[in-house]
Amino acid sequence: MTVTAYERAEVLLVEDDPDDEELVLHTLLRDDVCRRVFVVRDGAEALEYLRGTGRYRDRSPICGLRMILLDLKLPLLDGHDVLAEIKTDPELRRIPVVVFTSAAMDRDRTRGYALGANSYVVKPVEFQRFTAAVHDVARYWLGLNCAPV
């Protein structure tokens, strides 16, 4: 569908659940909030993408990434680990990371912010609220928020 060339993506979606992936992409496209989304399925791939290593070694460097939408429960490398890696990497730490997860536990939220998450959003179960959440998050980080130069 709409996933664009990886180096020009505005949003990196780190999501292992294909259903959730479809719902997020559906919302972003339907509302025309963002068309340049790149999707990775696990934490290790996310870091490879961001750093241009591993299977992304031969591609040109990323530019214009404005938000990482990060699920917490991921295979290989857990979302918290990915978050920690991003926020301790001088090259990557400025990219806003929005944790987008089903985990509504206080503990996860506290840990997410402690690791440097810029926002923490719990995925609503009901579809209308889910799309509203995705829409609002994308509008804010891609529209209202002024990205660092």
């Binding site: 089903s102 536990m105 995925k123 179960v125 009901e126 579809f127």
Partner: protein, 587 residues
């Protein structure tokens, strides 16, 4: 945890002339040729089936012989030790350590080892110059005493570590008072039969014997048991060796001072019993008692100290009473400290267990929260998407059925949310402070936007006494109760909701707060079921809600230490009443 060896034993072995309990009179009964106490050092203790000759499984037989050998080899010297305490030239001892050792060894090693005691007792008497027949009779009496003591103590469920006050009391009663009557009776009777004791001396001899054995059990028995339990449990007293040595030196020095000078009161030794009991528990209590009793006995017998007044016989009783009370003080105190420590340990273990359970519950909640929500979201989202995007192509029945899927997913989502909320409520820390319930009720009503109702209810919030509660949770209670009232009064022409309070129901209780409405009410038979999670009365099935609101109210009130209940009749409205625990209660 402790196994009780079978009770048996008993040794009363002294030759008539050397009876430990004997009084001055008894001394005169001694035959002229009575051997002296330093007569024979125990050496040959012959046991049946000599080890060297056993060919089959020698290791096994050796192990079997270990306990009886140990018993016999310690009993014999202990019996001779008793003779050291005898009054000079009287052969009367105020204490018989061997009895304590015997009872303790049967309790710990098993009653089946009584023959070892019987043999050692017999030999101790025999080597002291007593007639073989009399030695055998007295050995039988002593062994009987030890068996009776061990059996009674086992029946009474006395644990050998004497770690409970009850154990100390029962040990004193059965081991120190009841059981010694056996040896005293058999021994004295044997002496009388042998013409060693005369009829008129019978009571004195009996009493002396009984007391000496009883004190032996109490002091030396407790000491042996303390050493055994410290050794077997591997637990050493918390305070260090230096403190132990200091206590020992101070005890012996003070005891020496007390019992060498007739003016210093023996009560100055009691603080040492407290120190020993509190810091070193059973081991300390037994050690200090032993030290004090040894010095006291030795000094008294040799004519110094507070108790060495008058002739020998009257000296014994005060000394013995002092020894018993000193020993009991130390042992009971030690048992109290040990009980306290064990219950602290149990409490700590329980707390750890609860924490583990809590973590388990949290992990479970996490699973529910995360893993149940994801598929539910897919069900809801894709059924909604199909309805939205393909709805026109569906048949009427198909569209309705798909709507049912969507609706049920929504319902289940709310159930999960309530379940998580309730679980969170149980673990959340309660922050109590003084709260004005009327203010909480107004804040809750504000959040409910009653003015947006088609027919806004008349809400009357009366002034109420303050209470100690978590303000956020109390607001939640009012929000749920007022929200409930709004829901059940919607069909009323004029809906009235009244929030107020009444006086406490009894002493020490706080005021009773209530929320009353003139709505649909309920059948009082179901009053309790209203508070169960997801419980909805069938007649209200058409009203919105999932049946979690009152369960949450009940959980909050319960966490405050209060109670909640409902009163009402069908068609006549309902009143929900609750307390938030005793006034002034703090977390």
């Amino acid at each position: 945890m402790h196994d009780f060896p079978a009770p048996n034993n008993g040794p009363y072995t002294t030759p008539p002339s050397q009876m430990r309990g004997g009084s001055g009179m008894q001394a005169r009964l001694a035959p002229p040729d009575t051997p002296t106490q330093d007569a024979a050092v125990p050496r040959a203790i012959t046991l049946p089936s000599p080890v060297g000759r056993v060919r089959s499984r020698p290791g096994h037989r050796l192990r079997e012989l270990r306990a009886p050998l140990l018993i016999a080899c310690t009993y014999y010297p202990a019996a001779r030790l008793g003779m050291l305490f005898q009054f000079p030239h009287t052969e009367v001892a105020p204490v018989w350590p061997a009895s304590g050792l015997a009872v303790a060894s049967l309790l710990v090693l098993g009653r089946r080892h009584w023959p070892a005691l019987a043999i050692a007792a017999f030999l101790a008497d025999l080597t002291n110059g007593t007639e073989p027949a009399l030695s055998a009779a007295m050995a039988a009496g002593s062994t009987g005493e030890y068996l009776v003591a061990a059996t009674l103590l086992r029946r009474a469920d006395v644990r050998p570590d004497l770690a409970r006050i009850r154990d100390v009391i029962v040990f004193t009663g059965l081991g120190g008072l009841v059981a010694p009557t056996v040896a005293a009776s058999v021994g004295t009777y044997s002496l009388w039969l042998s013409d060693v004791a005369m009829t008129k001396d019978f009571p004195t001899v009996w009493a002396s014997w009984w007391l000496a054995d009883g004190i032996g059990v109490l002091m030396f028995g407790a000491g042996c048991l303390a050493i055994w339990s410290a050794w077997s449990s591997g637990r050493r007293p918390a305070p260090g060796r230096i403190e132990g040595i200091g206590l020992a030196i101070l005890t012996v020095a003070t005891a020496g001072l007390v019992f060498l000078s007739p003016t210093v009161s023996p009560s100055v030794l009691f603080p040492l019993a407290i120190w020993a009991g509190v810091r070193f528990e059973q081991l300390g209590a037994a050690g200090v008692t032993l030290a004090v009793a040894s010095v006291a006995t030795y000094a008294t017998v040799h004519g110094s100290g507070r108790f060495s007044i008058g002739t020998m016989s009257p000296r014994l009783l005060p000394l013995q009473l002092y020894t018993v009370s000193y020993s009991l003080t130390a042992l009971v105190l030690a048992a109290a400290i040990t009980s306290r420590r064990s219950s602290d340990q149990r409490l700590r273990a329980r707390t750890l267990e609860l924490e583990a359970k809590n973590q388990e519950l949290e992990a479970f909640t996490y699973t529910v929260s995360h893993d149940l929500r994801a598929p539910l979201r897919a069900i809801h989202a894709f059924s909604t998407l199909v309805t939205e995007e393909e709805g026109t192509r569906l048949s009427v029945a198909g569209a309705r059925r798909l709507g049912t899927v969507t609706r049920n997913a929504e319902h289940m989502s709310r159930l999960i949310d309530s379940l998580l909320g309730l679980s969170h409520l149980g673990r959340q820390r309660l922050v109590r402070q003084t709260v004005d319930p009327a203010r909480a009720a107004r804040a809750a009503a504000g959040r409910l936007h009653l003015d947006l109702e088609v027919r806004p209810p008349e809400l009357a919030i009366a002034a109420m006494p303050q209470c100690s509660a978590d303000p956020v949770l109390l607001e939640q209670v009012y929000e749920n109760l007022i929200g409930n009232a709004v829901k059940f009064t919607r069909d009323r022409e004029v809906a009235r909701i009244e929030v107020g309070s009444t006086a406490p129901r009894g002493d020490g209780e706080g005021p009773v707060y209530h929320v009353r409405d003139n709505g649909a009410g309920f059948d009082p038979r179901y009053a309790q079921r209203l508070f169960a999670l997801f419980e909805r009365l069938p007649q209200h099935a058409d009203l919105p809600g999932i049946g979690a609101g009152l369960a949450i109210v009940a959980r909050i009130v319960d966490r405050h230490g209060g109670t909640v209940w409902a009163e009402g009749c069908p068609g006549e409205g309902a009143m929900f009443r609750f307390t938030v625990g005793p006034p002034g209660e703090r977390p």
